[in-house]
Symmetry: C2
Subunit: 556 residues, 2 copies
């Protein structure tokens, strides 16, 4: 029998799904395609003023079909040679399902009800419920079930969202049999196992308070005590979870036909994008992998012998097998990274509105000019900021413009710029903001170390890592470590493909898949000795300022 050559990595992002056809032997990315979610693009089922963000399951289904077919079209015949499929998604992004495991929005009665759709990771409608969960977990008299998730339960997570929707919508309350994460449902859909969906360890452990210490999800009496609306839901959810090297099932005949693949093709259990991305980015013990975009997700793995049941203080979660099976996956992150620079760019762009209102040039030229200048701002700021020696600005910023995710989650914190003089220029302020995000990155690394998790290398992937050399150099100087940038622009999809390969039996485990399929690094940023020394001092200012004014920033 001829050996199958390809695997498919499917990466569901916030706006689109990407399908990448990967050579299972070498990890080379052969073809790829992206499909945007049509309903989402129109803003349907969302209300940004209330931070309500819902996605219709049909967006996922149609997007998948489009992206996979288009990717396969790039290499005729390849569909026949696809051995396995791996799928990553955003999360926590749960949806109410019926007894058959189908999202309620796929039934006629609920097709336009946002509460019957996937509640996207960044939906914040469950803020009050998150507060309740935190309060209850600490005061109910038993185990604090948030303890392996950093001790602070987020509005962006599974139970906050479920509780909010069940309270808000009696129809859903009656119709919802169970709930599934996006990364649970997609593999189940493709393999015809929706009714008995294999649950993702990654999603369960990081977002749903699942832990083997208490035999799975928090016990019935905890959930019912939180709100009777949750009564008996636990039994209709799950106890067993699976790591993503496991097969969710084989592709159904009908899905095989729709996608142009063979029936029975192995589909791996799903996981979250950052976790599969870390695998695609060559994560190993003692490597800190930073997925750097608008915000960051910082992922590490550590052998069970190193961590055991020790609680790592102030990070987002620690889950056995959430990243690499057999190791503890650790997640941290910054609530804003690229978003901090985007904020500054937006502020500097404010006077440019005038370009479309002046009578000196026509409106179309004004609009083009505005766009051109706006698009160049961050590049130009980076160029000029790079020329300012780090000893020279004397500005210190705090990077918490979107709160602080880690270390020590606190969404009520805010940002600051300190040390302003009349001579302070836009590139100097930008430089301070870039330094602040790097200080935030360092604070996470320092926390890992302080908790006994060694870091001997930093690996970066994502938009910022590939596009902004100045930002990366400052991060390297501040962390005083080399930072290796992952070659692949699609590391999440590549990681998903690795899981697909293991689930299909092409490789025995993820480490072997990483060795064979890893794409290496395109660039390494090295810290400068003198800059690192200078930043050691400035980092001290950052920490001191942060500690001293945190209380007041919270109150603003």
């Amino acid at each position: 029998m001829e050996k199958e050559q390809y695997v498919l990595g499917i990466d569901y992002g916030t706006d689109s799904v990407r399908a990448v056809l990967v050579d299972a032997m070498t990890g080379s990315e052969i073809t790829s395609a992206v499909a945007y979610y049509p309903r989402w693009a129109e803003g349907r089922y969302c209300d940004p003023s209330k931070s309500m963000f819902r996605q219709h399951p049909l967006d996922y289904v149609e997007g998948l079909e489009t992206a996979v077919k288009q990717a396969l079209a790039g290499l005729p015949g390849a569909g026949e040679k696809v051995a396995g499929i791996g799928i990553d998604t955003t999360g926590s992004t749960p949806c109410a399902t019926d007894a058959a495991g189908r999202p309620l929005a796929l039934t006629e009665a609920f097709k336009d009800n946002p509460n019957a759709m996937f509640v996207l990771w960044k939906d914040h409608t469950g803020v009050a419920e998150a507060e309740e969960i935190n309060h209850y977990a600490r005061t109910w008299g038993g185990t604090d079930y948030t303890k392996y998730e950093g001790g602070i339960y987020s509005a962006e997570w599974f139970w906050s969202k479920i509780l909010h929707v069940l309270r808000a919508d009696p129809q859903i309350r009656n119709a919802a049999h169970s709930w599934a994460e996006h990364c649970d449902w997609l593999p189940a859909l493709l393999t015809g196992t929706e009714a008995g969906v294999k649950r993702s360890r990654c999603a369960a452990g990081h977002k749903a308070m699942w832990h083997e210490e208490w035999g799975g999800l928090p016990p019935e009496r905890f959930l019912e005590g939180l709100d009777p609306v949750l009564k008996s839901l636990r039994d209709r959810l799950y106890t067993v979870t699976y790591t993503s090297d496991q097969k969710a099932g084989g592709l159904t005949t009908s899905w095989a036909a729709r996608l142009g693949l063979r029936p029975g093709t192995a589909v791996a259990v799903g996981a979250f994008d950052a976790h599969m991305g870390a695998v695609g980015g060559q994560i190993t013990p003692s490597a800190l992998v930073k997925i750097m975009g608008t915000s960051t997700c910082d992922v590490m793995v550590a052998p069970y012998e190193v961590i055991g049941k020790k609680l790592i203080k102030g990070i987002c979660g620690q889950v056995d097998g959430s990243v690499i099976p057999g190791m503890i996956g650790l997640e941290a992150g910054q609530s804003a990274y690229g978003d901090v620079y985007a904020w500054f760019k937006r502020m500097l762009s404010w006077p440019l509105e005038e370009l479309t209102e002046t009578s000196m040039i026509d409106r179309a030229t004004g609009e083009k000019l505005r766009q051109q200048i706006e698009d160049g701002i961050l590049r130009k700021l980076s160029e000029e900021a790079a020329r300012i020696p780090c000893q020279e600005t004397h500005l210190v910023a705090l990077d918490w413009l979107n709160g602080r995710r880690t270390p020590d989650a606190d969404q009520t914190l805010k940002g600051a710029i300190l040390g302003l003089t009349l001579g302070a220029t836009a590139p100097e302020v930008y430089r301070a903001l870039v330094e602040a995000t790097a200080f935030g990155a360092r604070a996470i690394a320092d926390r890992f170390r302080a908790e006994g998790v060694a870091i001997d290398q930093v690996i970066a992937l994502g938009g910022i890592a590939k596009k902004n050399e100045f930002v990366m150099q400052v991060a390297s100087d501040v962390m005083n470590m080399p930072i290796k940038v992952v070659s692949s622009d699609q590391a999440c999809a590549l990681g998903a493909a690795m899981f697909g390969a293991v689930a299909a039996g092409v490789y025995g485990d993820i480490q072997e898949a990483q060795t064979r399929m890893g794409g290496g690094f395109s660039q390494t940023f090295m810290p400068g000795l003198e800059r690192a020394r200078e930043y050691q001092k400035l980092y001290g200012d950052y920490l001191r300022f942060g500690t001293e004014i945190a209380g007041h920033l919270r109150d603003l």
Copy 2:
């Protein structure tokens, strides 16, 4: 004999001198003219990178002649009817003089030596000397001679500048017989009394540590102990000082001819612009007069019975007769006011540079467009910021971008913006900066009150007061007091004219001149009850933040 009808107010600013012809009976401004200093405009004798700012005496002399003649040309025959002249200048702006009382730069040997010229108020070359003076004054074992000047001697003041120039330039050390303030020298020049110049009480008391408690300037042993280079200078300076209701002398025949005035016309003793401006702005006991421009100068007067020898903590100085003869003149101020907004405008203008570099429009259009947008920024920011209710921004700024003059002078402080979120807009940040300057204003008023000086009204004059309604409304809300804006755009010159009238004997004292010549107020800003309440809270945040991070801001 027909009663003379007019007086001339001469106002020397940083860039130009203004002459205003005023009806001595009504205070109406009949004609006026401005002359810019030609050498200064070219940037000669200055090195901004070293904060070195010198002005050639010929700039003052030529400017005076141009401005006065042009003003008089507006009403033929008026020169014959001018009874008196009052002169205000910037300060402390001293110059080395020869034995005849002439500025050394007017002698052939020194005509191009910046050290032989007037050392402008904002020249900071004496920073090290100021530190020495402060240290010495506190440790030499005797009286602290800075005590009536707020207890902290500034680099911008008389002795810091003299000490710096004498140390830096041996030629000046040999040639300098004495030193004169700009406001001392000009009246002396016009009245032929340079050799026996009548010294301004205002300049002497606020900037030269002159006080009757120790019989004039600090004693010889203090000055010589500070540096032997000052040995015996005290005897060649002065002991007696004069308030500006006194006549410096009568106009010489030659100056009368040059200016088109009558010989013998009374010229009043000079004083600083803010002090005469406060008089022109109708200062009375319990009125706080704010001269609001790039920075502010805050002036009050209080009867001797109220203050006595009590030291008002943390203000800039308290001098018997410096504003209104017979009362204690009190000076405070903020190091940056309009300059804070100008800084923000400059930062927002940064991307506009691109307009002159893009190929989409020609360079000339780009330059005009850039200028147009830049010129509109503060107006547009004010419009939009005015629409944001003060409860809504949640940003707090510290206004010390140029250090803090009062309360409690500290030039090492810096500015800050706190509470930033990803949604913070340019108008919101601007609003916070405007509020910060208002908080700074309130802190000064609160200090006066805390020290027993009652304030029952606020009077504003200067560019900001006349031009930015939003800024003035916020100041009124934050101070929770009505703010009356002085009608005259030339309140300093009007005040100088009042002193000219009293020196000429038109009126018996300054209060009478104020009553007869005062121009009233053009507008009153009233505080809003709800805004004032809200600001009461935000002001608390400003004070708390300031206190807690001041130490760190100093170290940046």
